[in-house]
């Protein structure tokens, strides 16, 4: 007997967020990345359109990373010492279509760069690479509130994606994104209600829901991945059912989470039966990413070029249907 495929019809859809602006749109980027727009659950092509493929953003910093595991450092080599060269290498050598710049150097404990220095770095980066940009702060609220508006201004017209706005600190960043024509990352602590509330609060300030990307906060494989998965799934179900306030694309910071797992970074000589660390970390990052892609992730911020390569291949297979 033939199996009848049940096809669900959805009334809602995920908003389309455009990152980057070409010359015609007032920016200097060579391309525009579009994410979102899904009218069905992930990869159920029979149920509705899934117009854009998930994209991977290479994570780069404005300083040489201090706490990255050996495997990551050796993957890039000496270029990590020069952040601008590192970013260029991602684009030129690894064909990155999107970069995620983390302004770690502004952190009071990692160099404490001034807002002007951070903005200057952003200006230079925009000259050196032509792909669209995501810019995130250093994680210190007070400092980010000074640094990110300066960087937004430096990138005015480039339609970057900037983050992260959180429930207790979103106004400064939302105002800056609004003023300079950027998109914003709204971060919530694995909580669908707060994700929705933050979207509403930001849109109340005048920034359209179509300019918000949700960072649902994720955990790596073995560190709460299922929890993040279920929150993303619930949010996507609500979005497809017509709830505009939660119908934003997702950005998942996989690199930072996966490479924090002890399974990813512990050396083989410490744990001989875990196998070589060279493969383990990459696998950890790739598996975490692919699970989140199935949950509906739109942007994955990743670190290891080999992990990225594997996930790109996986995305390609998924999109073939």
């Amino acid at each position: 007997m033939a199996t009848e495929v049940m096809v669900e019809k959805w009334s809602g859809e995920v908003s389309v967020v455009s990152i980057g602006a070409t010359k015609a749109e007032g920016g200097t980027r060579s391309s525009v990345i579009k994410v979102g727009g899904q009218k069905a659950l992930p990869y159920l092509f029979e149920e509705g359109q899934l117009p854009y493929r998930p994209v991977i953003a290479y994570e780069v910093w404005d300083i040489s990373p201090q706490d990255w595991p050996q495997e990551l450092i050796s993957a890039y080599g000496a270029v990590l010492k020069d952040p601008l060269a590192w970013a260029q290498e991602c684009v030129n050598k690894y064909k990155a279509e999107l970069l995620c710049l983390r302004l770690q150097g502004a952190h009071p404990e990692s160099g404490n760069k001034s807002p002007q220095q951070a903005a200057e770095f952003v200006s230079q980066l925009l000259k050196k690479v032509s792909v669209p940009l995501i810019i995130t702060g250093c994680g210190d609220d007070a400092k980010d509130n000074a640094v990110l508006p300066a960087c937004c201004e430096a990138a005015k017209g480039e339609r970057i994606l900037v983050g992260s706005a959180v429930q207790d600190n979103y106004k400064t960043l939302a105002a800056a994104a609004l003023a300079d024509g950027h998109n914003i990352i709204a971060e919530s602590p694995i909580d669908i209600n707060i994700a929705k509330q933050l979207n509403i609060l930001i849109s109340d300030m005048g920034l359209a829901l179509e300019r918000i990307v949700i960072n649902p906060t994720i955990g790596a494989l073995g560190y709460g991945l299922e929890y993040a998965y279920s929150i993303m799934e619930r949010a996507r179900l609500a979005a497809l059912a017509g709830d505009k306030t939660v119908a934003s694309p997702f950005i998942c910071f996989v690199g930072q989470e996966a490479w924090r797992a002890k399974e990813a970074k512990t050396l083989a000589k410490e744990m001989p039966n875990w196998g070589p660390e060279k493969e383990r970390g990459i696998a950890w990052e790739a598996i975490t990413s692919s699970a989140l892609i199935q949950a509906g992730a739109d942007i994955l911020v990743m670190r290891h070029p080999l992990a990225i390569e594997k996930v790109q291949k996986y995305i390609g297979q998924l999109m073939e249907g």
Binding site: Q167, N193, Q197, D243
Partner: protein, 642 residues
């Protein structure tokens, strides 16, 4: 009939009473408190006094030793005054208010203790559709004197006369009243007033007084809330409410919610202290009401209480421990009628205490009482009763079925635990308007007095207006606008509603972000409980044809504001109806009609209790409701454009 003067020492209070009045009764009239655990039956021996001067006629009880008798000690309840007297109340017999006056200074600091004050009753007392038959009736009788032709006993003579003049049968009389009857009838020249109370479907003669006192018969009803005690003095003859007062429940010093109080009840003396605290509060309210309306405490013959299950347990000094422990069982939901004095409530020592019946551990007599007074039980269409209190209680149903739930909302809507909160009394801000452009505030207070604070309905209006005027974000944070009314403090921002120059207290009246957080949690708990209960029955809010809002948080409530903040579901506003303190209204209805009280028993048996604490979806719904109006804006379609 002769009157005598009796003076009580050491208070040095004098009162004039009729011959044959007991010393205990005279003491009550004089406002001198004497212990009387047995309520004047002459069995507990707690009411010892020394007769310094004058003459009394004492019944022999066997309680006093020969030595005590030789010292002039008498039992106040067994001694009938026969002339002007001077009486010293023994230290051991004095109700020691100082001992119960615990931590009062501490309470003041928390804003919990405050004087008993007049509040506006929303509903006037009436027995409604029920037959007038108040819980205590006084009937004046002139008995034919016995002679050789008519030799029936004194008691039968009283019964016969009651049958003849009031057609009342099925009578009972406690032994204590019979003991003194012979003397009393003859001294009063066979003219007496009997007080009949209903108990176990029979009438009991609780009190026999010489002469005609039938004109003076009063009852008090209470709603014992976790945060607020409300009491009402009712003239049982005219059915008129003489006054309504409220005070904060002094148990609050042992915890603001029922759970901490249940835990505290297990401490050494915990139950005693909790019991004393509620009694003291009730006695103060009774005292204030009777003093203001020139009613003698002896003329108050019955008290009826509604309240949540824990409060009723504590009032009757029943250990409430098992209410808190799974599977959450109350010791009793239907409670026997007892002597008010047994519970420590000071009215006529022979007066009775009635408690309205409860449903379950967290749906108590306040809910059944509210269902009674709101008439939900006889509605054809689906109704939702939402009682906004420290425990938010929700009843969904109609004449066909009723299901109830309770959610812990906290005391914010009752004006406790918020910076400038107060109950709905004179000077409470109950309506607010904020102009969107200039952010100027106009307000209305209860009785149009200068503002003293903000009551629950005022807070509902205030938050709604702050949202509409763009002063407040939907998550309850005050916006950082440069405006003299918006100030930053160590604990976040605050909004000045009334500057001190205009207030009665000489202090600014403000709302802080912490207050808003407390109010947000309270409204979320209530909304979530209602929403889950409706869902549990397989229904939607849209199916509810009438929403009855009850609670003592105001004299009115602006429905638009209550929906705007997400306290009430977004239904057509004409479906909402505000009924005030429905629990107190049900109690006063029952005070005036035994039928109403019996109806309440039926209601209690008919309500099905739905436990929310074991319902996973409740937490989910609560979290989603922690936003103004709600995280899911689709649930509030009329507010979408905002």
């Amino acid at each position: 009939m002769e009157n005598f003067k009796i003076t009580f020492l050491p208070d040095n209070k004098t009162v004039s009473v009729k011959k044959d009045t007991t010393i205990l009764s005279a003491a009550i009239s004089a406002g001198v408190y004497i212990n009387s655990a047995c309520g004047g039956d002459g069995v507990c021996g707690h009411c010892k006094v020394i007769l310094k001067k004058g003459k009394v006629l004492s019944q022999s009880t066997g309680i006093l030793s020969v030595q005590e008798k030789s010292q002039g000690i008498h039992l106040a309840c067994q001694s009938a005054i026969q002339g002007d007297c001077e009486v010293e109340v023994l230290a051991a017999s004095r109700v020691n208010f100082e001992k119960e006056d615990f931590e009062r200074s501490g309470l003041k600091g928390q804003g919990v203790y405050s004087q008993v004050e007049e509040i506006e009753p929303f509903l006037s007392a009436s027995s409604g559709d029920f037959k007038d038959y108040s819980l205590a009736r006084k009937i004046y009788l002139e008995l034919p004197k016995p002679d050789l032709e008519d030799k029936i006993s004194d008691l039968e003579r009283v019964y016969r006369q009651l049958k003849r003049s009031a057609n009342i049968e099925l009578l009972e009389t406690p032994l204590a009243n019979i003991r003194t009857l012979g003397e009393l009838l003859r001294d009063s020249d066979w003219k007496i007033t009997v007080t009949l109370a209903v108990r176990n479907n029979t009438a009991e003669i609780i009190l026999i007084e010489p002469g005609d006192t039938s004109e003076r018969n009063f009852g008090v009803c209470f709603d014992i809330g976790t945060t607020t005690l409300s009491g009402q003095l009712v003239d049982l003859n005219t059915k008129k409410v003489l006054g309504t007062k409220a005070a904060y429940n002094k148990q609050a010093s042992f915890g603001s919610d029922v759970i901490t109080r249940i835990v505290y009840a297990r401490d050494p003396d915990g139950l005693t202290k909790l019991h004393a605290a509620v009694c003291e509060g009730m006695n103060e309210i009774i005292h204030e009401l009777t003093a203001q309306h020139q009613v003698d405490l002896n003329e108050v013959t019955c008290v009826i209480c509604a309240g949540n299950t824990t409060m009723i347990h504590l009032l009757l000094r029943i250990d409430p421990t098992f209410i808190r422990k799974e599977p959450y069982i109350a010791t009793a939901n239907f409670l026997p009628v007892s002597r008010a004095s047994d519970a420590g409530v000071k009215i006529n020592p022979r007066g009775l205490l009635y408690c309205m019946p409860g449903v379950a551990s967290y749906v108590g007599a306040d809910v059944t009482s509210g269902v009674l007074s709101s008439g939900l039980y006889k509605q054809k269409d689906l109704c939702l009763l939402i009682d906004i209190g420290t425990n938010g209680e929700i009843v969904l149903g109609s004449q066909d079925f009723m299901v109830a739930s309770a959610a812990s909302a906290g005391p914010a809507f009752e004006g406790s635990g918020v910076a400038c909160g107060m109950r709905a009394a004179r000077g409470a801000i109950e309506e607010v308007k904020i102009s969107p452009a200039a952010k100027e505030v106009s307000y209305k207070t209860i009785a149009n007095e200068k503002p003293r604070g903000i009551c629950g309905s005022g807070y509902i209006d205030l938050i709604s207006q702050m949202l509409s005027a763009g002063v407040l974000d939907k998550d309850g944070k005050i916006k950082a606008i440069d405006h003299p009314r918006i100030r930053k403090t160590d604990l976040g921002r605050e909004f000045v509603v009334v500057f001190k120059a205009e207030s009665q207290t000489g202090e600014d009246i403000v709302i802080t972000e912490t207050d808003i957080d407390n109010l947000k949690r309270a409204k979320a708990a209530i909304y979530a409980a209602a929403s889950i209960l409706v869902k549990h029955m397989g229904l939607e809010f849209e199916n509810v044809k009438q929403v009855i809002i009850a609670g003592g948080f105001g004299t009115s409530i602006r429905m638009e504001s209550a929906v705007r903040i997400g306290l009430l579901p977004d239904l057509p506003r004409e479906r909402f109806q505000f009924v005030g303190n429905s629990s107190l209204a049900g109690a006063s209805q029952s005070l005036l009609s035994w039928d109403a009280l019996r109806k309440c028993d039926e209601i209690a048996k008919k309500i099905t209790y739905f436990e929310l604490s074991t319902e996973g979806a409740y937490m989910e719904e609560y979290m989603a409701a922690l936003f103004f109006p709600h995280t899911d804006l689709a649930k509030f379609p009329s507010l979408r454009r905002l």
